[in-house]
Symmetry: C4
Subunit: 230 residues, 4 copies
């Protein structure tokens, strides 16, 4: 099998992380899947972005076996794998420690929808996961991290709200392409920054009314979308 397409897309996506301003040091990684073949490419662990080449990208199957690459995959690999397996229709997962989004993860708070910037991207609050148990942390920690995300989305469509805040950790976003998952990661950080500023001046700021949330989300998504070009 030839994995050049997903490896190239994965390399480009990881290289764009430090340029986006979302990632400090090596705090971020992107995976890109080929769902039909049930394989995905991911950044190797702890390699500086400026030294990354396409040969460093690790390719695995959906069971977690390495198919190509000499380096260890990202330590967060199993979380990516869990989301790619469970969230149908997605091809890419992005993980960062972007600062404003991390603040909500550390605060243990959902990111509330306070305005149209949020409603353009997320059809409701971006949820925070529950605290993990000592057993989950002592076990297959990164896989269990994926499992608590999937649990949190039991009643949420992952393409209607393509982001989560892992408690005491940070954000994961996803989408049908790495470009879209990266755009969502950037939008999430911008929106979280806006909410911190909003709550600073009005701790009682109220969520956007449902009719405005629905209106803005449907301007950009679904059969009646009229934002952008046809």
């Amino acid at each position: 099998m030839n994995f050049d397409a997903i490896k190239s897309e994965c390399l480009a996506a990881n290289l764009s992380l430090p340029q986006s301003g979302l990632v400090d040091l090596t705090f971020g990684n992107v995976s890109v899947a080929d769902p039909e073949r049930r394989v995905f490419a991911i950044k190797p662990s702890g390699v500086a972005y400026e030294k990354l080449t396409v040969d460093d990208i690790v390719v695995l199957d959906y069971e977690g076996n390495v198919l190509e690459g000499d380096l260890r995959p990202s330590s967060d690999m199993a979380t990516h794998r869990c989301l790619l397996l469970n969230f149908h229709g997605i091809r890419s997962v992005v993980h960062t420690h972007s600062r404003a989004a991390v603040a909500f993860a550390q605060a243990g708070l959902d990111l509330p929808c306070l305005g149209t910037t949020h409603a353009d991207y997320f059809h409701g609050h971006v949820p925070v996961t529950r605290a993990m148990t000592p057993a989950e942390i002592a076990g297959d920690y990164e896989w269990e991290t994926g499992q608590v995300i999937v649990e949190r989305f039991a009643n949420i469509h992952p393409l209607a709200i393509p982001a989560v805040l892992v408690r005491n950790h940070g954000p994961f976003t996803w989408g049908p392409s790495s470009n879209k998952a990266l755009e969502t990661a950037l939008a999430l950080e911008i929106i979280a920054d806006m909410v911190i500023k909003t709550l600073t001046i009005n701790p009682q700021a109220i969520s956007t009314p449902t009719h405005l949330l629905d209106k803005h989300f449907s301007r950009k998504h679904g059969p009646n979308a009229y934002y952008g070009q046809v």
Copy 2:
């Protein structure tokens, strides 16, 4: 009719948005009107700034009919049209989701005048609009957005306070040229950032006394202005 002048000015103004730091992703647009001919040029919807060319700019008449251009106009077009129709003496409208200004829109708070930086640009608080009704949102939403702005300015001169905060959305600014409307958008964001910092250290900070507000506004505006060169 030839629309080259307003199309060129409109292109240049939209291209300056990402450089200004006011706009993330594609969250902003500028319109430029020729009020005598009752026509205006506006950014197309959802096109990345770096790909924008003068041929992409859409020209419409004041009734909203497209006169030139193959792309859909900005989804916010009807809000621009409403302001251009109702606010006499303006030629350009700027819309952004700049973060500190959005914070006030999301908080549902007028931007109070706390100092001379504000008074140099706005002759009083920058108002936030009322919440829109479900009927307004379900109807011609973007036009109704313009209508609630116009309603809010029933007793405010739009050139004395050339900016508004649309509740749960973000800022619009305007002026006699796109350069002036853009400068006002930047000043609004700077001032909003200053107010967030001020309220962080003193939630009871009081508004600038009227005599100081009047003094600074009149240094820059009106028959006795003495700021700048003749």
Copy 3:
């Protein structure tokens, strides 16, 4: 008389303002004096920094008469003149609307000394001026602004605390050269930013004990200074 030296220094100092990050749009100006000849050079009013040339710099005497230059001096000229006249040993005044320092001016709060970064530059709190009266604002406003600064320094040595926060307005700094006054303006903004962050996490943060304040100020200033090279 030849004013080339102070005009060149004044031009260079004003050009450095936007690069310093202290100044947005045209919100700042620097004056440079020759105290022996009782003359000073200052930025013209409302001219963009990128268009400024040495020929645009305005030279005035200490009574406020223009000696050289075709443009209007900065509208803040009389404040500069008042400080140059009253604060002995200074040769340059810098005025900005840098955001964190403006926050204290708008909050009506002295900038408290919370640490050694502050003590390295200012021997005590940086004071905020009292509110100006309607008569002072209606009169020779910019001169009166200088007068309330001088009044506030009745019991403070202007070289021990070379900065002030004009209430509802912003900071002025000064020093024996424009380089030193600019460094002080930058240090003031950095320190104000640190204090905002400090008060965010601990509104009861207490001022640096006097013995630590004295120690750090005397490391850098006075006969026993041992910071830097001889």
Copy 4:
């Protein structure tokens, strides 16, 4: 004796400070030691980074005697010396006035561990030192600063928590190389910024549970580490 290796490493590390964004003006310095020979290199006092050359670097022995260099060492030299003498296994000390870390030092608060970004670097809260006494400040101030750090680490392993916040002053970090100590200084600032944002939206945010802290620290440190490449 030849000191070229530590002088070169010391120069490169100091030059990287302004590029890192951690340091404003001249507020920072790095030392690099050769523990076997009991000597260390350090930045000279008050020299601008852009003018620094390898010949300006000062070399001293662990008793504080200058062995090479014509300039005065950093005024913080004795603090570096005290840490190099007392913390076994370290080769480099970094001191900055980075703004968010300074905020905790000025607030007199330990930096709490609120998430995995912190746990990846520090095995517990980053401690703040006690206030120094007037006698300590009047005496050999910089050496005593080192002593209160060492006192604070009586029951903390300096390689498990390679950073401290000196009360009313700012952060020091250390490590087995200048690159590692600089990375820790950057991580500390990022984490402090995240905590300020977290406490802004949830002043009751709770510390990371011990099992999660242990898990993340041991992913990167110790015999069972599996982050990065072998």
